[in-house]
Symmetry: C2
Subunit: 329 residues, 2 copies
């Protein structure tokens, strides 16, 4: 089987192109790699960076994409006026069947829009969500939505649960993953109206729904998949980053086994970025501050994601749920 | 000046009456104490506990309150059928002018309802909020609402900002405290509609509004007062507790100066509990898992809160804002 190809936006993020190219080279030189990399950006600039990294192997192909996208450029404008940007190109290559996944650390709204417009959604999934693998006291949990949506309806939260559950099973290898709704109390009747409604809907799905989980439970790892509205999910994501940074500052010199485990599990550079779930394809939005370590992990995560065939599995699970829901009526 | 009196529900919380009475004795024996304690609960039980603690001083008076309140009893039912509970009694004593503040670690919904019904709101404050002093990388920040409300309107969030700002100034001694809105991005147009609306309203107040803050900024201590809907505030509060517990587990044996500082600042037992802001009086909801250390801190916090005259200052600031808003029209 030939290697699959992962398309990477070389010009996205605060430290592009330097850290992006460095991360691509790091992955390319990894003996466990079973994918090739399509590095999308202005050819001369990207090749210059590759030269700085002394890379001359054939795992990386540069795809010329001269347009540049600013971090705050309106997404629709990017799609219209920057078709030859690294960001749009890495998604278009997937649509063309050349790449199996697309990664950008750049303008996240534009990346979301590009994936949505170019790849489209899985049928019957209303809105894609950003899912992140988060550290807990036990094993990693999938948190979604981490900020792709706002003011969601209850049915959208159910879609999140479905997508997250499939991801946890197919990519993380969790059997019958537990799904929790991040809320302000454990009782069914607690919290915002939309969450109370989602609670009732989730009970009716065949997902392994364990009810509401509070912030403490999330950290303790009570749920494999934690569902939150985009607003709350984003706040949680950023708090976890802030907490890791603070812990690193306070306990940085500590080198006990436990401390090393904590560092490994909590460093967001090791989490592979924000996975767009609900798309007809594989899109990853990596942290704007992504360095080469983060980019390397995103590439490996993208490969796992693509090989697991998550979009098809989400579609499959959706129809299974439809059938089971019809049976119960 | 005679000591003010703080009324404490002896029967509230997971470890009542043992830890509550122990905390009261700890405070009573503290030479820096400038308040007396009214310990409300079934007289025989409370006196028995005091005996176990070998306390015979006159800083603690037992107020007989034989009714018992369960943690999950509906608030309205508690008010109607348990008027002689420690919870209701400690609030009633304040209404009668005997106590200057009321504290319970028990049924938080019932405590909120008792304070609201018995003490009432500051005029023109729509809903009281639970405010908590939270650790940050800099100094403590006031986070509100920590879960008293759900699905708030934008104007309610503005009330939170006002109350929190007054508290930070009057009790924490912060000069012109900065106020941030916890959101999923820094731009005005980010996040749920209600936050976008609140942003515009907050800009028009004379508060020191610094705009949106993300989860990372909150931990870094960018805002002295962090405003969030009750749902998000509660999730943040519980996450911070979870972080602290995890860090304690991972780094517990570490005894560097930095680690000790972290322990002191992040241990939620040192934070005084949830302060009800917007009431015509002083109400504190202490953590259900409060131990004697937490109870001792709640007593000292209640005393500071009462002496600072927060409710009157909130009313004052409200009229000042009304005047300034009228001027600008």
């Amino acid at each position: 089987m030939p290697n699959i190809k992962i398309a990477l936006d070389a010009m996205g993020g605060d430290f592009a192109p330097e850290q992006i190219v460095k991360g691509a080279v790091l992955a390319a030189n990894d003996p466990t790699r079973n994918f090739d990399i399509l590095l999308c950006g202005p050819e001369a600039i990207v090749k210059e960076e590759l030269k700085k990294n002394d890379y001359s192997g054939d795992a990386i192909t540069v795809i010329d994409a001269p347009d540049l996208v600013a971090m705050d450029e309106p997404p629709t404008q990017v799609l219209k006026t920057k078709p030859k940007s690294g960001l749009v190109t890495c998604v278009a290559l997937q649509k063309q069947g050349i790449a199996a996944a697309s990664i950008s650390a750049g303008n996240s709204g534009a990346m979301m829009a590009a994936c949505l417009m170019i790849l489209g959604r899985v049928a019957n999934i209303s809105r894609p969500a950003i899912a992140c693998a988060m550290p807990t006291a036990k094993r990693q949990a999938i948190l979604l939505d981490c900020g792709a949506n706002v003011d969601e309806k209850a049915s959208v939260l159910v879609d999140f649960a479905l997508c997250g559950s499939v991801y946890a099973e197919a990519v993380m290898g969790y059997e019958n993953p537990t799904v929790g709704l991040v809320n302000m109390g454990e009782e069914e009747k607690k919290g915002p109206e939309v969450l109370q409604e989602a609670y009732q809907l989730l009970k009716q799905t065949p997902l392994n729904f364990i009810g509401n989980i509070e912030g403490r439970d999330f950290i303790k790892g009570h749920a494999d998949v934690a569902i939150a509205p985009g607003y709350a999910g984003n706040v949680i994501l950023k708090l976890m980053e802030g907490f890791f940074e603070l812990a690193h500052e306070v306990f940085g010199e500590v080198k006990t086994e436990k401390a090393k485990e904590f560092d490994l599990l909590w460093d967001y550079r090791n989490h592979g970025g924000g996975l767009l779930l609900g798309l007809n394809g594989v899109g990853i939005i990596t942290h704007g501050r992504a360095d080469h370590i983060a980019i390397r992990h995103s590439l490996f995560t993208a490969c796992k994601f693509a090989r697991a065939g998550v979009p098809a599995k989400i579609a499959e699970k959706l129809s299974a749920i439809k059938v089971s829901t019809e049976h119960t009526h």
